[in-house]
């Protein structure tokens, strides 16, 4: 993996003449975890899609670039709310999907190693339909890790999981994605309070940076300063923008 770049997005986006967001300026520091927190419909996912290079339907005036001035294409991995596993591929084949789509050799050994790291070593030959929602999302995380990209974009990847699976996945993702530039879109204040080195609050009025408690991530979900910070984030979300 190359040195992770910072992410910078500045500008405004419209779709069919209607405003989605902006003008705003967003910066995600290199090698750190930034949470983009906000209610539904403020354009959080659009920010992520623009950085991922998926801008088909959106008219974007501005720039969505890497801080080191080089192109983002080929340096980004994306993990979404749905696991997007292919039902006709088994777990290992799903994890090595990227290599196959690029015409490279699948690294089966590395895939098995990654599966072990996400706690699915016994499931390598299973079909996606045989897995639970939490396990499927672990496979998606393994697929993301397999891409080994310096920038990882997360679009509410844990929001469909039950509370326990979600907390476990947060721990796992924080551990395995450490050192990469992560931009994590979420509407869950508890999640942002646990995971963000930086938390950006996105509201109709624009972006507000909120300083989280010091210390490494993931923060303990029941630590007083985490809960306190979570409360503060929610309070800010409830305020009129």
């Amino acid at each position: 993996m190359n040195r992770p770049p910072a992410l910078r997005l500045a500008g405004s986006a419209t779709i069919g003449g209607g405003r989605i967001f902006g003008p705003l300026a967003l910066e995600a520091p290199a090698g750190e975890w930034t949470c983009l927190l906000g209610p539904s419909g403020v354009g959080k996912s659009t920010v992520l899609r623009l950085l991922a290079g998926l801008r088909d339907e959106v008219l974007f005036a501005g720039e969505a670039v890497a801080g080191d001035g080089e192109t983002l294409s080929g340096r980004v991995a994306l993990m979404g709310q749905t696991d997007l596993l292919m039902p006709w591929l088994n777990v290992t084949a799903n994890v090595t999907l990227g290599a196959r789509l690029r015409g490279r050799k699948e690294q089966r050994d590395r895939a098995l190693e990654v599966l072990e790291r996400v706690g699915l070593s016994g499931h390598a030959a299973k079909w996606p339909t045989a897995l639970s929602g939490g396990q499927r999302q672990r496979v998606a995380l393994a697929r993301t890790l397999m891409e080994d990209r310096p920038v990882v974009l997360l679009d509410e990847p844990f929001s469909a999981l039950d509370a326990r699976s979600r907390a476990l996945m947060q721990d796992l993702a924080a551990e395995l994605l450490a050192g990469r530039t992560v931009l994590h879109v979420t509407h869950d204040t508890a999640e942002a309070a646990r995971l963000g080195h930086h938390v950006l609050l996105m509201r109709e009025g624009g972006l507000t940076s909120v300083t989280p408690p010091p210390g490494p991530i993931p923060r303990r979900y029941d630590a007083p300063d985490t809960l306190d910070f979570q409360g503060r984030l929610l309070r800010m979300l409830m305020e009129p923008a």
């Binding site: 294409s73 994306l78 997007l84 292919m86 990227g98 789509l101 690029r102």
Partner: protein
């Protein structure tokens, strides 16, 4: 009620209604024979019927195989290339405006009275449903998968073969299921227009000689063959692509 019991009950009910119509309507044998006399004929003429059934089955299977293969290839060409779409799609739709029935005499003229004019009919009649069902599915790949592939810097050819085609196989399967029912229609039309063997030929022959029980016997065999073909294809598709 189990599935096989329900099928047996429905079959018995159908036969009872048939016999009732014949008995109560006092219909003569040359208008509508009862099920008993039809099954008696089916048994006594089993060698004759089987001989013709084999011919029709070969025509149907060849037409089905070739039509499905051609439909598969066409749908992929259409999905892969916008130029192919703009050129071929209007032709494809126009070809559907021509009733396949009307082509049967021409096909017989071109390909003769033998096997291939019937194969061509079966092929033509299933080509559009297979192509159309598979093409529609190819164009409806879930956008999330395509976006994932884009972020992974996938090449267009690999997206087609490794993502869009496997994702569209259930669509191809529904095209094949339709084809299993349509292909025998094509073969029979071909046989009606000009043939010296096959179930369609036998039915026409029996009809002309007022052997209505033989005609119905051939019709029943044809229906059973079609159902068996559909069931076989359905089983294969289910196994491969989960319905």
């Amino acid at each position: 009620m189990t599935r096989s019991f329900r099928i047996a009950a429905a079959t018995l009910l159908g036969l009872a209604i048939w016999q009732a119509v014949v008995t109560l309507g006092e219909l003569p044998r040359f208008i509508l024979p009862g099920p008993l006399s039809v099954f008696a004929t089916l048994w006594t003429s089993r060698a004759l019927i089987a001989e013709h059934a084999v011919v029709t089955a070969v025509e149907v299977l060849l037409g089905l195989g070739l039509g499905a293969g051609l439909g598969f290839a066409s749908a992929i060409a259409l999905a892969a290339s916008p130029i192919a779409r703009s050129l071929l799609r209007p032709m494809l739709v126009f070809s559907q405006a021509i009733p396949v029935f009307a082509l049967a005499p021409i096909l017989t003229l071109w390909l003769g009275y033998g096997l291939w004019s019937k194969v061509a009919m079966a092929l033509l009649i299933i080509y559009f449903p297979v192509t159309s069902a598979f093409f529609d599915a190819l164009m409806r790949t879930p956008p999330g998968w395509l976006e994932l592939a884009r972020v992974m810097n996938a090449t267009p050819g690999r997206v087609l073969w490794r993502l869009r085609v496997p994702a569209a196989m259930p669509g191809f399967a529904s095209g094949l299921r339709l084809a299993a029912v349509y292909a025998p229609i094509g073969a029979i039309i071909g046989e009606w227009v000009g043939a010296s063997q096959g179930l369609g030929y036998l039915m026409l022959l029996a009809n002309g000689r007022a052997k209505i029980d033989l005609m119905f016997a051939a019709l029943i065999v044809l229906a059973v063959l079609t159902l068996a073909l559909h069931a076989a294809i359905d089983a294969v598709c289910r196994r491969l692509w989960d319905g």
